[in-house]
Symmetry: C2
Subunit: 189 residues, 2 copies
């Protein structure tokens, strides 16, 4: 059983084969085309997600302009703010590639928790990890110039540069595509 979900869960908890079977039984997996919108600004998030294959990005639409805040790839969970705080979402979630995604509704989560109560222990651990990485992301952005941010991305997430179009990378770095082109040109020398 080499499902990416179990790979992910094993970071937090050791599951027996029976427990894995229960999870496999309850989980709800969907194939989604590139361009599919998982969550729209203004909508309530009724699901959280786990990416089995593909790539998803989150963005705000500010005066018609896309502002990318995050890329998610294989083995990453996505818990929309809207799912947690029950307010309409401020941002979009969209598939950047054809994706295979496991969807988690409140009902299915409740069913899982009922059948495997100790799964609840994972919640705070995941929250802690999420908070730490969110803080690091903010602090990195603050500390670095656009050029340094590009180098940092090259260093730390080179896969992104290969599979994600440059105009979205530019937005993620807080600059325009033309500026990213120039930065790349500068760096070649």
């Amino acid at each position: 059983m080499d499902d990416p979900i179990f790979d992910f869960l094993s970071k937090y908890i050791d599951l027996t084969e029976e427990e894995k079977a229960i999870i496999s039984d309850i989980k709800f997996v969907r194939s989604l085309k590139k361009g599919t919108i998982l969550l729209r600004q203004g909508d309530m998030a009724s699901e959280c997600f786990f990416i089995l294959k593909g790539c998803v990005y989150s963005y705000y639409l500010v005066e018609g302009e896309v502002k990318v805040t995050e890329f998610f790839v294989e083995k990453q969970p996505i818990t929309p703010v809207s799912y947690t705080n029950k307010q309409p979402s401020e941002y979009y979630l969209e598939c950047l590639e054809d994706c295979i995604i496991s969807m988690g509704s409140a009902e299915r989560t409740a069913e899982l928790m009922q059948k495997i109560p100790r799964l609840a222990l994972m919640g705070p651990m995941m929250l802690e990890d999420e908070l730490a990485s969110q803080r690091i992301k903010y602090d990195t952005f603050i500390k670095l110039s656009p050029e340094q941010r590009y180098l940092h991305l090259q260093e730390n997430s080179p896969q992104f540069l290969e599979r994600i179009p440059q105009y979205l990378i530019a937005s993620y770095l807080g600059i325009k595509p033309e500026s990213l082109s120039r930065i790349r040109k500068r760096l070649v020398k």
Copy 2:
């Protein structure tokens, strides 16, 4: 009993008078002079903090330059990343004014949890709140230009503009003090 701590805790949990007495008994409060450093880059955080009075800020030192990431004021908890993940801190915490601060060590927290077990329920709730506000902070920074960030601060945290020197506000907004001066001048017109 109008201690700011109980005001804060009441957001998450209703405490009996006995429980409040236990907390008052265990809590450890210190008066600290302006300029006191609560946490140094490279040090392990052995305490978390709750501000009863005063103002604290966090900053990185990048090539000798101060990069402010956060201001904390009355009724705010401060849980250093280093306290949670047991790694040396990457940033500093310093008193911006004379402060009265309640300090929380792992030992005192354990003692509290033992005497009032249901306090443990608060942990995940606080984490969730922290995560949401951290995300909003990042997203706001990404979405706005320096001038818009200043207007946003003026709108949402006007107290900061009164009690915090402008060169630290500038750093928090990601710009130099001279640029903030110019932005303010532009906006007057």
